[in-house]
């Protein structure tokens, strides 16, 4: 039985919804009633059936609609996809990784056949059946990174490793929480993290870099990050701030449940074998407050997290303007009872 892909939009009329099964598999990011930065990195191993970790590269009911939204973003702004000249080999590494993982996890939707360097890739949801020569860019309609990331949910940053640092030298970034590949391209790990408050003082980035530069082939790692977005908009980029920034002023006590979305990023880190680079997929999951509130534990916990969040973090995540309305709305769902430990719904 395959996935039933939804017909929906992430712009204009915003018809994006999660089915009840997808609400229950949402990667709720808070394991306790408070939030502070931590180097919350763990091995990226397969998790329980029915969770977003059932496969290491997750494909869900939003796949086709997300790929259509990505194509719209790229048509308007091709600089969302960039690869510096030395990163082509890493692009082939990523193509192999994503084709292998998608074909492994979803054989009813994707098939990869390899005969030496002659590869055939069938992507049924998007109606693609291409035969190409691995390593020969002229046999694909796009460069290898762009080709495969137009067919894979989530953003992808490819980091070159050299001089004891990681460099943002390639990427496909169209579903981002207010950062820009075009701005960050070519920056190193400390440069692109410079705007993050509090974490530098805690020495988090020094430790995180040490960990990431030692990621080994065959041993990917992951972490969750989160923010909030008004309306289910995937493309909240600085380039398009004029389109989504004003949305934050439209939140009222009456429309919180429909407009305010928790936005969770499942970030994973993989060593690429030929280029010795690192790929950093950032997979975005959205859930509106009305959907989240169907799981009482999540609503209670989110109320406490947002209420008690340090102001610097609330500001960095862009919640300041509508935080009072959101806390007020969530408080009605919090009877003060204890929440069970762990991420999952009760």
């Amino acid at each position: 039985m395959g996935i039933t892909f939804r017909k929906e939009t992430f712009r204009d009329d915003f018809t994006f919804r999660n089915s009840p099964e997808h609400i229950r598999r949402f990667p709720f990011p808070f394991h306790e009633d408070a939030y502070m930065y931590a180097v919350n990195i763990e091995p990226h191993v397969v998790g329980p059936k029915g969770s977003v970790l059932e496969n290491l590269i997750d494909v869900d009911e939003h796949y086709v609609a997300e790929m259509q939204d990505r194509a719209l973003v790229l048509a308007e702004d091709p600089l969302r996809c960039q690869s510096l000249p030395h990163m082509t080999l890493a692009g082939w590494d990523l193509l192999e990784l994503l084709m292998e993982q998608q074909a492994l996890g979803y054989p009813e939707h994707f098939t990869l056949t390899r005969d030496g360097d002659r590869w055939r890739w069938i992507n049924r949801p998007l109606g693609i059946d291409d035969t190409f020569t691995f390593g020969d860019t002229s046999t694909l309609p796009y460069g290898p990174m762009e080709y495969i990331t137009r067919q894979s949910q989530g953003d992808f940053c490819i980091l070159d490793q050299r001089d004891g640092n990681l460099w943002m030298d390639a990427g496909m970034v169209t579903t981002q929480a207010d950062w820009s590949l075009d701005f960050d391209i070519g920056m190193n790990f400390f440069e692109w993290h410079a705007p993050v408050p509090l974490a530098h003082e805690k020495g988090i980035f020094v430790r995180a870099l040490k960990f990431l530069t030692n990621i080994q082939q065959g041993k990917p790692a992951r972490r969750l990050n989160w923010t909030m977005t008004i309306n289910p908009r995937l493309d909240t980029s600085p380039e398009n701030y004029h389109k989504w920034g004003p949305d934050r002023a439209t939140v009222t006590p009456e429309n919180v449940g429909d407009k305010v979305h928790l936005r969770v990023e499942l970030q994973s880190f993989w060593r690429l074998p030929r280029s010795n680079g690192i790929v950093f997929p950032i997979r975005c999951y959205l859930i509106k407050m009305d959907e989240l509130a169907t799981q009482p534990k999540w609503a209670r916990r989110l109320h406490r997290v947002i209420r008690d969040l340090p102001d610097e973090l609330a500001n960095y995540k862009g919640l300041t303007r509508y935080r009072p309305a959101l806390v007020e709305w969530l408080s009605k769902l919090d009877d003060g009872s204890a929440t069970s430990p762990g991420f999952g719904p009760d």
């Binding site: 030395h86 192999e96 080994q216 082939q217 790692a221 074998p273 010795n276």
Partner: protein, 321 residues
């Protein structure tokens, strides 16, 4: 956040003497599947089970990264070392089942380079075997300068000359041939990256010369695995696990810690990657630091040690393990 590597179950598929000192070993996966793809410059750690004792030595992969049916390494016999190379030469035969690590690359090509200038000394040729194969497959621009003691000890010199012709230049010590390093490093096009792998003296010479000629440090890459040196036995107390251990003459401190059932993280086992860095709780004696990871201040402070290559002489040593 454990950082070791995944293991591969392999079988020795071939053992080929290359010359009087060097033997090549071929590994295939026991289940017949392909081995993981790797990048030129990567090494694997080979586990050698020798009775009660397990040695773990890193060796550069020297095959083409484009062919993952088998991995190949070349081992130079070291008659005065701790016995790892002798074990490989005397005991490892085709058909033997062994365990090796996933490939790890601590000597990676900088793919931005307009040209790759490679300097190899002796058995330091092995990572360049894979790197040249990788670059040749992509049409990359490289030039290899290879020094060896005699023509008969010029491991793979013939193969390299045949594959790459004039892109390979050989220097034989017994004929008094020597790289004119000043001239070579002064005449490279902008955007050239320099790679050196060989004896410590050669690496030092090349790095100093490059620095004197104004090469930016980030364009000079070197593979500096220090093999653990044998030394006097010494006793160590492991404070966290509460174990007292003795490090044998032919054993590294890391191997002795592992033999006691404590598993610190590691990657290179050659004093460069930093994974097994260990805090010293207290000490009364002299450290013999052999690593390239800790700073000189760290060495002087006596607060840290890299157990993969460094030793201790004295009355007592307590480590945070």
């Amino acid at each position: 956040m454990s950082t070791g590597t995944t293991k591969l179950d392999v079988v020795v598929s071939d053992v080929v003497p290359v010359n009087e000192l060097v033997t090549r070993f071929h590994f295939r996966r026991r289940d017949g599947a392909l081995l993981p793809t790797f990048s030129g410059g990567a090494h694997v750690v080979v586990e050698m089970r020798d009775g009660e004792r397990t040695r773990l030595n890193p060796y550069s992969l020297m095959g083409s990264p484009l062919d993952t049916r088998e991995y190949t390494i070349s081992v130079r016999r070291d008659d005065v070392g701790r016995g790892g190379s002798l074990f490989m030469h005397r005991r490892v035969r085709p058909g033997l089942e062994m365990v090796i690590s996933y490939p790890v690359n601590l000597f990676s090509l900088d793919l931005r380079a307009k040209k790759h200038l490679m300097l190899a000394g002796g058995i330091g040729i092995t990572p360049f075997m894979a790197q040249t194969a990788q670059l040749a497959g992509e049409g990359g621009n490289f030039e290899l300068h290879y020094t060896c003691r005699t023509a008969s000890l010029g491991t793979y010199a013939d193969v390299l000359r045949e594959r790459y012709g004039r892109r390979v230049r050989l220097y034989h010590d017994d004929r008094g041939e020597r790289i004119d390093l000043d001239r070579l490093l002064s005449s490279q096009p902008l955007g050239t990256h320099l790679y050196v792998c060989g004896p410590a003296g050669m690496i030092g010479w090349v790095r100093e010369c490059a620095a004197a000629l104004g090469w930016p440090p980030e364009t000079v890459h070197f593979e500096h695995f220090a093999a653990p040196q044998p030394g006097l036995p010494f006793d160590v107390m492991l404070a966290v696990s509460g174990k007292a251990i003795r490090v044998g003459e032919q054993q590294s401190l890391l191997e002795a810690i592992e033999a006691a059932g404590v598993d610190p993280p590691y990657l290179c086992r050659g004093g460069v990657c930093g994974q097994c860095e260990t805090n010293v709780v207290s000490s009364d004696g002299k450290f013999i630091h052999n690593d390239h990871w800790l700073s000189e201040d760290d060495h002087r402070s006596g607060c840290k040690i890299m157990p993969c290559v460094s030793r201790f002489e004295g009355k007592s040593l307590v480590l945070e393990r």
